[in-house]
């Protein structure tokens, strides 16, 4: 069938392929139409209707048979050649099951890894929020501060001004992650919720399945609208799917909230990494924030906001307008807004959720799986090359009896297509199984629903199909390349024998192996660098002791304690715990380092430090009780700890860290100097050593502490230095808490070490995945090398026999083959080193205290690669050394 004919018949073929039922109906219709016409004709000729009908049927013949013949004619919907090639291709695969299985396995791993990682990227970065409308126009809003690299939050008044003035924005809304304590027996649990602007559900075009969404105005007034929309999950689990739930009251942080709506199933809110369980209007912010009511405070920055741009508006245009608005705000409110602007972030760069944290890991993943795919393709290409060599004879016969080159190419491409389609199918399965893998790898805090799905949607499938096509081309064209060079006359004669490592024909295969080794070497180096970083992070001193300190909390807020009661309770509990045996020291702190909660920050001024005009000093601080430094094991460099007498009636005091001393007092002893915190002056009474505050990878930064009593929060964490096991400690603390108040509950307890591990989880995930995939790549490369070497040995038995006959012993031949394998490896490692030196820089953020060019790591990778290469060539070499010269030379 030539191209033109194929083209002309394409429509009808496609129709019979895709609309078989319609074709069937048309056939029936056509036959009926014929008979009707014949009957009319017969009647016109004077027959009776009955007679006309019989005559027409007789003349037509057996309707069923004829219809069946018509079906047979269009039966093969695919072009004949294609169908034939397909059948032939399958037969070929079936004939060498080992080859086929290996090739398909390689492709499954390569394509599966890619699809899985893209499904994560899709689910986390591009469409992170299921059921939210118009995510392609959705951007995150955050403040940028002059001189600070990290973006900051917005304040509510700034947000309102922005919303009023931004004409390029369709709508903007607030969704601030928060938590509420729900007591379950004597166990308290934090449930994740969201403080949202009243337009939230309207803006994301989501309708509650029960009840209503928020009404305009419900986000105004301090504590004026205690209403809540609950998640489907919460409705199911906590309210047992009660259809009458609307109007019921749920206490959130001990404030009764009326349930007004239930969100649909599958909606998890707008915070990457977390499944939000309830939504309350921002007017209730004071209930959920220990820092008090902030809606009228332009200096209080706590808002996570999003904006939908109008259709057709570019990010740059919108950013320009927003910057103008921010500049006006700076001018109008210099006291709070000096040096601050507002920025738009793409969803995948959202500064205030887990997306940004996972971004470097995902970037590395995408690169790594790309490598694995290339290695897999190289491997399959290699396998196909071997086979094309074996099938050279077949190809030559085909050419000799008149097949055109394009015909052979088509056949090879179809064989490639079969392989890649099967590989892709396997890959999709693998991706489907792995879609939740990322969540599994990340440690989760008890009671907090994690939501980090991979989404296998249309786009991921498209990508998979794209990869499949690409692979088809690669694996199909590699052998085709070989065919182009077929020399008919030469090849139909018997094969010439090769010499180990010396033949041009093998150059392409060797090239592929070098390529594979090069790529796997890069992965090895990357994996080793990440592993080394993780090791360094783990051995880095966080500045406090992690092993013997447990962290928990008491549900004071949820149980309705006000500030005076909380103060009394905290003191009493500390007194009771201090006399328990096994507990060395206890302290309250507003925030535990390396946890999820963020520290408060405040603009400060310091005695004797003249700030540059544009610089607004914002320093983070923690509110801690007496004994905090002793409990966490943070050394005090000078001065004293806070004591009970540093209470609300005493003069304000503060303890600063070493970096703060270096930055603001040029290293001079600051005792007796003052810092201004939230507008009030506090006297420095001590200097603490630097420690890690939010991440193990952070560099030393200014930080200070104030007494909990002088900047009170009702729900601080309780830190306990203990020699007992976690369980015993928990039981002891619970006993003491219940002795004071039976109604109180404790949060789950963890050690500081667990918090540290959690903070390191992105590194852990990266290391696990890169090493797994790196190991996979190494295995594939070893298989490739093994294949090339065995083939070379098999091809050159005559040469080997000759060498033996001339006096080479087994050891000589062993060396010959292994050195050939090592030569290929050396080539791969050489290219790999050059490439790795260039690309490991991209690991950037994931590396910690390790140079991307660390010679030790490169050496290690080299050692692993060389060992693998020796093992891969060992078996072929052994086979070579067993050559029987007498037999070989006779043949």
């Amino acid at each position: 069938m030539d191209i033109e004919q194929w083209f002309y018949s394409l429509p009808v073929r496609l129709r019979s392929l895709f609309h078989p039922h319609q074709m069937e109906r048309e056939l029936t219709e056509e036959v009926r139409e014929h008979l009707d016409q014949q009957i009319r004709d017969n009647v016109a000729k004077g027959m009776s209707p009955e007679e006309a009908r019989y005559s027409a049927m007789r003349a037509f013949g057996g309707i069923t048979q004829i219809e069946q013949q018509c079906r047979e004619v269009r039966g093969s919907a695919l072009p004949d050649d294609f169908a034939r090639d397909l059948r032939f291709g399958f037969r070929q695969l079936y004939r060498c099951p080992g080859f086929s299985a290996l090739a398909i396995l390689c492709l499954t791993l390569g394509i599966g890894a890619n699809t899985a990682v893209f499904s994560w990227v899709e689910g986390i970065l591009f469409r992170p929020y299921p059921m939210v409308a118009h995510q392609e126009r959705l951007f995150a809003l955050a403040a940028t501060v002059q001189g600070e690299s990290r973006p900051d939050m917005l304040s509510w008044p700034d947000f309102l001004d922005l919303r009023r003035s931004c004409t390029l924005c369709e709508d903007s809304f607030v969704s601030k992650i928060t938590g509420s304590t729900l007591n379950i027996g004597d166990h308290a649990e934090v449930t994740t919720g969201s403080l949202v602007s009243a337009n939230y559900f309207e803006a994301i075009a989501l309708h509650p399945i029960l009840g209503r969404a928020f009404e305009p105005g419900e986000d105004v007034g301090n504590g004026a609208h205690p209403v809540v929309v609950i998640s489907y999950q919460m409705w199911r689990n906590r309210f047992k799917g009660d259809p009458e739930v609307i109007g019921k009251v749920q206490r959130l942080n001990n404030v009764p909230h009326t349930i007004i709506g239930v969100a649909p199933e599958g909606f998890y809110g707008t915070f990457v990494g977390r499944a939000i369980q309830f939504w309350v209007p921002v007017s209730m912010q004071g209930t959920f924030d220990s820092g008090g009511y902030k809606l009228e405070d332009r200096g209080a920055r706590w808002i996570e906001a999003y904006v939908h741009l109008k259709p057709g508006v570019s990010r740059a245009q919108a950013q320009q307008q927003i910057s103008t608005i921010a500049a006006r705000l700076q001018k109008d409110y210099p006291a709070t807004n000096r040096g601050r602007s507002i920025g738009l972030w793409a969803l995948w760069q959202t500064p205030f959720n887990h997306a940004g944290e996972l971004l470097p890991t995902l970037e590395v993943m995408v690169a790594v799986v790309g490598f694995v795919l290339l290695i897999a393709c190289a491997n399959v290409g290699n396998l196909l090359l071997v086979r094309s060599f074996i099938r050279r004879h077949e190809m030559c016969v085909r050419l000799a009896i008149g097949a055109t080159g394009s015909r052979l190419l088509q056949q090879l491409l179809i064989e490639g297509l079969i392989l890649s389609v099967l590989g892709t199918a396997g890959g999709f399965l693998m991706a489907y199984w792995c879609r939740h893998l990322l969540v599994r790898l990340l440690p989760v805090r008890e009671g907090e629903a994690m939501y980090l799905p991979g989404t296998i949607d249309g786009r991921v499938m498209m990508l998979g199909a794209g990869i499949c096509l690409l692979v088809t081309l690669i694996v199909g064209l590699v052998p085709a390349f070989q065919i182009r060079k077929l020399d008919l006359a030469g090849s139909l004669k018997t094969e010439s024998s090769g010499v180990v490592g010396g033949r041009g024909k093998a150059r392409m295969r060797s090239g592929l192996v070098v390529f594979q080794i090069c790529l796997s070497f890069i992965l090895l180096v990357a994996g080793a660098l990440l592993l080394e970083s993780l090791q360094r992070i783990r051995t880095t001193n966080p500045g406090f002791s992690t092993t013997s300190v447990a962290v928990t909390g008491v549900s004071l807020v949820a149980s309705g304690y006000d500030v005076p009661r909380s103060k009394i309770f905290q003191d009493e509990l500390l007194d009771r715990l201090s006399v328990l045996s096994g507990i060395q020291s206890t302290a309250f702190a507003a925030v535990t380092p390396l946890g999820y909660a963020t520290f408060s920050s405040t603009p400060i001024a310091a005695d004797g430090y003249q700030a540059p005009l544009e610089e607004q000093l914002e320093v983070e601080y923690n509110q801690v009780s007496p004994n905090y430094f002793a409990t966490l094991g943070i050394p005090l460099l000078s001065g004293r700890e806070f004591t009970r007498s540093d209470d609300e009636n005493a003069p304000l005091v503060a303890i600063v860290n070493r970096t703060m001393v270096m930055r603001y007092w040029r290293g001079e002893d600051p005792l007796g100097r003052r810092v201004q915190v939230k507008g009030r002056w506090a006297r420095v009474v001590g200097v603490a050593a630097d420690s890690k505050y939010e991440s193990m990878r952070e560099t030393a930064r200014p930080f200070f502490y104030v007494p909990l009593r002088q900047d009170f929060v009702r729900d601080p964490d309780l830190n306990i230095r203990t020699t007992q096991s976690l369980q015993n400690t928990l039981a002891a603390v619970l006993r003491e808490v219940h002795a004071l108040d039976q109604d109180l509950a404790l949060y789950g307890m963890s050690t500081l070490q667990e918090q540290v591990n959690r903070a390191n989880s992105p590194q852990l995930v990266a290391v696990t995945l890169v090493l797994t995939l790196g190991g996979l790549a190494l295995l594939l490369a070893a298989v490739g090398l093994y294949g090339v070497m065995s083939y070379a040995v098999a091809q050159s038995t005559r040469e080997l026999g000759l060498r033996m006959a001339l006096g080479a012993d087994a050891a000589n031949l062993l060396r010959l083959v292994i050195s050939r394998g090592l030569r290929l490896t050396a080539g791969g490692v050489l290219f790999g080193t050059v490439a790795a030196l260039a690309v490991t820089r991209l690991l950037g953020q994931l590396l910690y205290n390790v140079s991307p060019h660390d010679p030790l790591v490169f050496g290690l990778a080299l050692a692993v690669m060389t060992t693998t290469a020796i093992f891969a060539s060992l078996l072929p070499a052994w086979r070579a050394s067993r050559t029987d010269p007498a037999r070989v030379l006779r043949e």
Partner: protein, 111 residues
């Protein structure tokens, strides 16, 4: 009701192409024309025309379209494609050559 023999089948294809070269027709009309032209010599049933039509359509030589007939009923109307016209020319030339040769041979025997 028998399936037309191979020889007749080949001839049938050509005849159908020839008929359609004159004007687009539906299946019934083609069968009527076949009977007129071949004076029932081919001896095939009306129905066996249809597999032939479908085959020709599948080869891209003819094209089918649903059209309203004069009495406003939808009827499947076949017409020749450009490719079909080429095919017809080819087959006609071939036929002429073969039939000339065959009649030459037949005359030779009679002589």
């Amino acid at each position: 009701m028998s399936k037309p023999s191979d020889l007749v089948q080949g001839t049938l294809d050509m005849l159908v192409l020839k008929i359609l070269a004159l004007q687009p027709l539906n299946g019934w009309a083609i069968s009527q024309r076949l009977k007129q032209i071949s004076s029932h010599v081919l001896g095939v049933s009306d129905g066996s025309l249809y597999p032939a039509l479908h085959k020709l359509e599948h080869r891209g030589w003819i094209r089918a379209q649903w059209k309203a007939s004069e009495n406003n009923r939808l009827t499947k109307c076949y017409s020749l494609t450009r490719l079909g016209r080429k095919q017809l020319e080819k087959e006609t030339a071939n036929w002429n050559r073969v039939s000339a040769a065959i009649s030459g041979i037949v005359r030779l025997e009679e002589a």
